[in-house]
């Protein structure tokens, strides 16, 4: 099985650069697509070839399936790496690639479709013996059904769009009155946002951690898990700090969660990199919430503690190679933390900040890794997500990793836009974080405390 000669990178920003780096180290030629907003980006010029695929708006460029396929065909690419976001979890796009003889670097269209539908995903995992959050068997058929189920399960409950993802469109109801009030609005919101008004009902677990398991599977039936990442530090369901290992996960729990994740992987014949997301309650019970059938933003956290290059394996697995890492080879060593530095103003409710990066000085020194497409003069566009850089650290233990991350963030200079760094420094200093006691809602509390202290 020969590696690809040329791969099309159907994404932008830091992940496009990340994929380029993995290709380059494997001797694979790179074709980077870009919209007109990204024409002058340095990572575009770094690629072997580039193709402008459309104007700035994503639907006409990074989501433009025919432009992407056409770009791959005219440059002779054998494979497309979709990165994360955009078309990475679009089963239809994966099918189109297959029709044109282009390898989609990721799982099969069926696996994507199955896990993309939250109802199907839940049912499939439950059938595979993976614990799921207690809730409705499928789509809620009526308000009456919702009320009956909620009353028997106990409040609070969560109304969740079946066709959604990324934590969007969810509503918590604390009692029957709220459920009655929110049911219809939640349905129409879901319809508007995802084109699908179907709702699920789940038990709402108030004090949980978001703990996800990284998996890798080849096309020859071999799969492994690479341990967990704790992503409980979230603001409005968007992750801002991630770490591995989780302070709440013992080696024994890791083994159980990993095995549960692999049960799911095997049940759907999953191939390539993926992540199973779980909620972990204070009693050590874990529940599947969803699977991300792609490489994730926070993948470097796992790379740092395991020493395994995930994007490199994505390319190798997609070209048919055997995954030669055995489960016993996977060792979790030391502690890694990632801060997503976004172009947002934490003092103005994280309002997006666009503009030119006038000065950029990334951190360095021992145990520091920076995944970023930034350079002085870069114009932060308003059309895409606000991620500027992923700052990562590794240290022998959690205490040293926190100190190292604070040191690295303090060294970082990004002039020209507002960044989330001031808030992340506050977070890293907070007792709850330092004690490892994070749960998914604590960032909101820290935010309120911080804003109050500035008033």
């Amino acid at each position: 099985m020969a590696l690809f000669e040329k791969v099309l990178i159907a994404n932008r920003g830091e992940i496009a650069l990340r994929i380029q780096r993995a290709c380059r180290e494997l001797g694979i030629k790179t074709v980077v697509v870009h919209s007109e907003a990204d024409t002058d980006a340095k990572y575009v010029k770094l690629a072997d070839e580039s193709v402008c695929i459309g104007p700035a708006p994503s639907p006409k460029s990074y989501l433009n399936q025919s432009a992407l396929i056409s770009a791959a065909l005219i440059t002779g690419c054998e494979a497309i790496h979709p990165g994360y976001g955009f078309l990475s979890e679009n089963a239809y796009f994966a099918e189109i690639c297959a029709q044109y003889g282009i390898t989609f670097i990721g799982p099969s269209p069926d696996a994507i479709r199955l896990m993309g539908d939250k109802i199907e995903g839940r049912n499939t995992m439950r059938a595979a013996g993976v614990p799921i959050v207690p809730g409705s068997d499928g789509e809620l058929q009526s308000l009456e059904e919702a009320v009956e189920l909620a009353n028997s399960m106990g409040y609070p409950i969560l109304l969740k769009p079946a066709g959604g993802g990324g934590g969007r469109g969810m509503r918590v109801a604390n009692d029957e009155a709220e459920l009655n009030r929110y049911y219809l609005t939640a349905k129409s919101e879901a319809e508007a946002a995802f084109g699908n008004g179907a709702l699920l009902l789940e038990k709402y677990l108030p004090k949980v951690r978001h703990v996800e398991i990284q998996v890798l599977a080849d096309s020859h039936g071999h799969s492994i898990h690479l341990g967990e990442r704790d992503c409980s530090s979230q603001r409005r369901h968007q992750k801002i700090v991630e770490e591995a290992p989780s302070p709440a996960v013992s080696p024994e729990l890791r083994a159980r969660m990993g095995e549960a994740a692999l049960k799911g992987v095997r049940a759907i014949n999953y191939v390539n990199a993926g992540t199973m997301e779980f909620l972990l309650d204070p009693d050590g019970n874990f529940y599947f919430i969803e699977m991300n059938t792609r490489i994730q933003v926070e993948h470097p956290v796992t790379e740092l503690v395991t020493g395994i290059d995930l994007v490199r394996w994505q390319l190798r697995i997609a070209s048919g190679e055997h995954l030669t890492v055995q489960q016993s080879d996977v060792q979790i060593r030391g502690h890694a933390i990632e801060c997503r530095v976004n172009a947002e103003d934490p003092e103005r409710d994280f309002m997006p900040s666009v503009g030119e990066i006038q000065y950029y000085l990334p951190p360095g020194g021992p145990g520091v890794r920076v995944d970023s497409h930034l350079y002085p003069g870069y114009m932060v566009p308003g059309n895409y997500d606000s991620l500027l850089a992923k700052m990562l650290v590794w240290a022998p233990n959690r205490e040293e990793a926190i100190a190292r991350m604070k040191r690295a963030l303090t060294e970082t200079v990004i002039h020209g836009v507002k960044t989330t760094i001031p808030f992340q420094l506050v977070l890293l200093d907070d007792d709850v974080f330092v004690d490892g006691e994070m749960s998914t809602r604590y960032v909101a509390e820290i935010m309120s405390k911080w804003m109050a202290s500035k008033a």
Binding site: K45, A47, S50, C52, I53, A67, S70, I74
Partner: protein, 156 residues
């Protein structure tokens, strides 16, 4: 630096893919920048000063060359109305091999008239002209891959 050497350098830049050339030779420094299609010189010190015995030393010329980006067209936009590609694909001058091209140099075209075909994923897309005018330049070859926004035709 004498005039002959300077002219040679100017010709070198004009004919090559070099965008900018700076040469330092002793006290003399010349910078040649290619813009508007023709190289322009700027001399930083007295280029035409007659060599004197005291200053003329055999210092090796230091050449700083800014190479043209391999992925972009070096030449800036030509003058006239430019028709750019609205899609990614392969450019063809005519609807099929051997057929008459839709437009040739000197053709007069009306707004909306088909100028060329761009093939993407086996589908032929006729590309209309946004302008009326006379075809002054055809910037791509038949069968060449084109990207979104790439200049195809220049109309006068």
């Amino acid at each position: 630096m004498d005039l002959r050497k300077l002219k040679t350098l100017i010709d070198l830049v004009a004919e090559s893919g070099i965008a900018e050339l700076e040469i330092t030779e002793g006290d003399d420094k010349v910078r040649i920048v290619k813009s508007s299609g023709t190289p322009q010189t700027s001399h930083v010190s007295h280029v035409y000063a007659a060599p004197t015995a005291t200053t003329q030393t055999a210092v090796p010329a230091q050449i700083a060359v800014a190479a043209a980006s391999p992925t972009e067209a070096l030449a800036p936009m030509p003058e006239g109305k430019i028709v750019k590609s609205p899609m990614v694909g392969t450019f063809y001058r005519s609807s099929s091999p051997g057929a008459e091209p839709f437009a040739s140099l000197g053709s007069t075209v009306a707004e909306g008239q088909t100028l060329c075909v761009i093939e993407a994923m086996k589908l032929m897309n006729e590309i209309p002209s946004e302008f009326a005018g006379v075809v002054k330049e055809i910037l791509v070859e038949n069968g060449e891959p084109v990207e979104f926004g790439q200049p195809l035709f220049v109309l006068a």
